[in-house]
Symmetry: C2
Subunit: 204 residues, 2 copies
DNA sequence: CGAAAAAGTCGACGCCGTGTCGACTCCGGT
DNA sequence: ACCGGAGTCGACACGGCGTCGACTTTTTCG
């Protein structure tokens, strides 16, 4: 395909593709996904609307591409917490702080994408995969803790982990300032996982 | 100005209005809101598409009308729990059971409406009002409990209450069978409110 | 170099769902 | 009989989507 040694330029098309992605990022910072049209994207990349289809199948395809770029980052700071044991407040806080930082720059994209998820299989699938990645590791952590007697019995690990994942998402989506909710999330998640009631529940 | 329709009058084609509402309910049982067109609604009520606009301003207006019919029911069984004190597991369970029953019959409507909320002010407003109604009462309950020494300090009552409201919504939306999650929700909510950690947090 | 192929571009078209308008019918009241 | 408003509808304009075929530019290779 490419001549060896020299000239490995990003073809014109590659730069256009980047331009579309970049335009989408920019536009998303100013208005919700639903208000962005293919025309906008094409105009931002300085091509006609029909040329847009040479690069992407649809507006959602652009979003999916953007989303995939975030997949890695979303769990980046979560390692120490997810691989750890017991109510390790510090690593949980670090994990959530990473998420908050990410949310700061990409909140609109994520909010918009998540809003479009029902009715857009690829996005729903992306979200499902991400959820699964988080839930499975967190569920494993819960099992470990329970086996070690560090955490009380309760909902099935996968269910509890799912609830925590849902809660995070809902809280970030609704938050004005992501940083302000970190402490509350730390407290609440720890309670969900390790909280023991002052009054013993029957059959515990 | 009027929520449901614009014209005023006695009642003759008011049955048509009912027919539209009823069609919407039926259709919603079989497919998501986004897949229902004004044509469908009009056809179900046996009128032409343009006649539809005599009764409602848009598809969303129909949904809003449907939603308002549910407002009362949504908090119907929550009284004993919200007005009570302390970790009263039974009344919490009753409250959630009522919600589950409601979800059984109107889950699709609620899921669809909630999905459409961002981007549809009237729906978002309805949801916000409902959330506020729940959150304010729950927050008051939390304050009462804390003042009485029944619940540990933690996130601001309104924040914690909001998280619980969010968690309920997310859990019901994602649930295959609403009844199956009640017990887990009971456990988790009680932990969020009353859970004490085995390890004391610094600066409590 | 120059021809063919691949990459990229665009205008025009048809589709679909929305919302509006004006003309029409229907029906009860005086 | 006729009047007016409730109710109905067809036709229209609009905006966004996705496709097609023809065109231009760039790359490849003999």
């Amino acid at each position: 395909m490419n001549a060896p040694g020299r000239r490995r330029g990003p073809s014109k098309g590659d730069r256009r593709e980047q331009a579309i992605l970049e335009t989408a990022r920019t536009l998303l910072a100013s208005k919700p996904l639903a208000d962005i049209t293919i025309d906008d994207l094409a105009a931002g990349a300085e091509i006609s609307r029909s040329s847009f289809y040479f690069y992407f199948d649809s507006k959602l395809a652009v979003v999916v591409a953007l989303l995939h770029g975030l997949t890695g980052e979303l769990l980046a700071d979560a390692g120490p917490w997810l691989d750890g044991t017991g109510p390790d407040e510090e690593s949980l806080r670090t994990s959530l702080a990473g998420l908050a930082t990410l949310w700061r720059s990409h909140g609109r994209l994520l909010t918009g994408a998540l809003a479009a998820a029902p009715g857009c299989p690829p996005i729903a699938q992306w979200r499902a995969g991400l959820r699964e990645a988080h839930v499975s590791r967190l569920a494993a952590r819960i099992e470990r803790d329970r086996a070690a007697g560090l955490a009380p019995e309760g909902p099935a690990p996968a269910v509890l982990a799912g609830m925590i994942d849902d809660l995070r998402l809902a809280t970030f989506v609704g938050a004005a300032d992501p940083d302000e909710i970190i402490e509350d999330l730390v407290t609440v998640e720890l309670r969900m996982l390790y909280g023991d009631l002052p009054i013993r529940r029957s059959g515990g």
